[in-house]
Amino acid sequence: MLKAYDYAEVKPNTTELQNAGLFNKEKSAALRFVLANPSHKEEKKCPVCGSAHTRYIFSRWDVNYLFCEDCCSIYVPVEDELISKYLELEEMRNIRISDEYQQQAELRRADIWDELVMWAQYRIYRYLGKNTGLDVIDYGNRYKGSVDRFRKSGICGKYELKNSILPVKTEKVDKADVILYMNQLQHETNPAATLTNLKDSLKDDGILILNTRLGSGFDILTLKGGMDSIFPYEHIMLPSRKGLEKILQDAGFELLEITTPGTRDMESVLRNKDRIEDGNFFVKYLLNTADKSVLSDFQQFLQKSGLSSFAQVVAKVRK
């Protein structure tokens, strides 16, 4: 397996990925749902590795997040039906398909999407030897700007958008050269089973491109419950890098590469430094004394070492 560490030097991030007002609306909708639909799941075993060695790590809105001592993934024990219901929440859907939401996403994420498409073009060519006219299935993409970019990139011959809230008409793809599974793992109660099912839609020599937030990232392990952008039931599965490898292995995939090119851990921790636990002297010292270039180097170190909170994966079906 090729392991690679991808990192980028970026200008200081001056733009939040979400519009504050819209993000608060999303959180409010989620909070109302969570309060009205508490989880009563008895089974606490880690859904990634099956370990019973788990412990409480933090809670959000009285929902407990657990940490697996064996694979270091973070998760919420929650019933499948509850998650299905959450994903169909009309209030949330209406916020996210609104013009304002999509326009704000375009404004804040355009450069990220451009880079993502270029990265996908490169990695698809790397593993398939071509990157145009391919059959592509995109799972759960909720951003029109992102969908448009992939469709116009030349990568796609046929493009099917599945499990998306977007009212976009696409073609049916029976077997895909490329499956895009972006930011979907965070909703999964049984991620290996879901990825096993994805295999049925992938050609024998096709590739899965997946990205996800990681539970082993610097920002979440530093801020824990103080991390504003993590909330139930939007994020119930935050695998560690090791856990992610296990999920893919259990689902019958061969990992071609896993990188952690997230650029925002330090920024996120810095922004929320008053929420860092009292006992975390090192990080507090670092944030209080380091200059901008040290913080930037630290972020690069996180990326290179697989310690940032965002992972990109390319995998193929194991033969």
Binding site: V10, E115, Y122
Partner: protein, 333 residues
């Protein structure tokens, strides 16, 4: 055939490296090893020879793996091809262009020959990535390149066989610089115009050069500069590829000595509108690698050619002749 029965001629460092790669592959059965220095074969259980011709004549096998000094490579390659064996040979393809052409003649005379030369740098992860990036056209077309391949030298440097022209045919350019030249040729095509300065800048009491600067140009106008140096005083590998829409840089190389630094590839797109970063500092992506499978990939390709009838893709006799033509151009100037 699902196992290649092979003999290895030359059991120095490269012979041992190939032996290990063949064992890891699992599709090879080494039936004999050969070296003029018996000490090099100590610890090996295979049949041992000190005369390469005797080894080839007395072994039942399918392939000959040639890991000897440059001077004997052509003789062994030609003899083996003449006997109908498949041949994998270390670089360089002989000491000079004449040697390479002699092997090409033997190749042309042979019936369904399989001949591959070991240019393992093409199989390094950073090089594989660079090739994919170029072929994908995301960064446009490569128009020029800068390469530096440098060695630290050693206390006995002037007395090494590599610097004995009778045995090696050339100095640092032929021994190590040929890898950089091969990569530039791989990425950009054949260089038809060559200017160079081949010098003994420090090691003056040896017959070969310790430094070779070259400016190379392809027939379609791509330009490259190459510095092959034995006076870098440390190990260094660096190759920049400038493309019409971006830039690729390869730095460091994973080798058995771990002395060329971390192997990595960085790339960025041209960003004159400063969308990804400040002017002069576009968003740059870097990948680093923690393993070198180049020997394994190379022996796999040779296996696939011999057993599965697949064509030799890299390190063909045509590559060998072209490279030696360019090497001769560098030395001639």
């Amino acid at each position: 055939m699902d196992k290649i029965r092979a003999v290895i001629i030359g059991m120095g460092r490269m012979g041992k490296t190939r032996y290990n790669a063949m064992k890891r592959h699992g599709g090879y059965e080494v039936v004999a090893v050969c070296d003029t220095n018996e000490a090099n074969m100590e610890g090996y259980e295979e049949k041992k020879y000190t005369d390469w011709k005797e080894c080839i004549d007395n072994s039942e096998m399918d392939a000959v793996i040639v890991c000897t000094y440059n001077v004997v490579i052509p003789d062994i390659v030609c003899y083996s091809l003449g006997k109908g064996y498949s041949v994998f040979s270390e670089k360089p393809p002989g000491r000079n262009l004449d040697d390479a052409l002699r092997m090409k003649e033997a190749y042309d005379r042979a019936e369904s020959p399989i001949l591959k030369y070991g240019f393992n740098h093409r199989y390094h992860n950073s090089v594989i990535e660079a090739k994919a990036l170029l072929d994908s056209k995301i960064l446009g077309d490569v128009v020029c390149a800068r390469g530096v391949y440098g060695k630290a030298g050693s206390p006995d440097f002037t007395h090494e066989w590599r610097n004995d022209t009778q045995i090696s045919g050339g100095g640092i350019m032929l021994d190590q610089g040929i890898h950089m030249l091969d990569l530039m040729y791989y990425f950009m095509g054949e260089f038809t115009e060559i200017q160079s300065s081949v010098d003994q800048l420090v090691w003056k009491d040896m017959p070969t050069e310790d430094s070779a600067f070259s400016i190379l140009r392809t027939s379609d106008g791509k330009v490259a500069s190459l510095h092959s140096s034995a006076i870098q005083w440390r190990h260094k590998f660096s190759l920049d590829l400038i493309c019409t829409k971006g830039f690729i840089s390869l730095n460091g190389l994973l080798t058995s000595t771990n002395s060329y630094g971390e192997e990595k590839i960085s790339y960025y797109r041209k960003d004159l509108e400063q969308k990804t970063g400040g002017l002069g500092k576009p968003m740059e992506h870097t990948m680093c690698f923690d393993s070198d499978q180049s020997w394994d990939y190379e022996m796999k390709e040779f296996y696939d050619a011999v057993v599965n009838g697949e064509p030799v893709k890299l390190g063909t006799i045509y590559d060998a002749v072209n490279l030696m033509k360019m090497i001769e151009g560098i030395y001639r100037v």
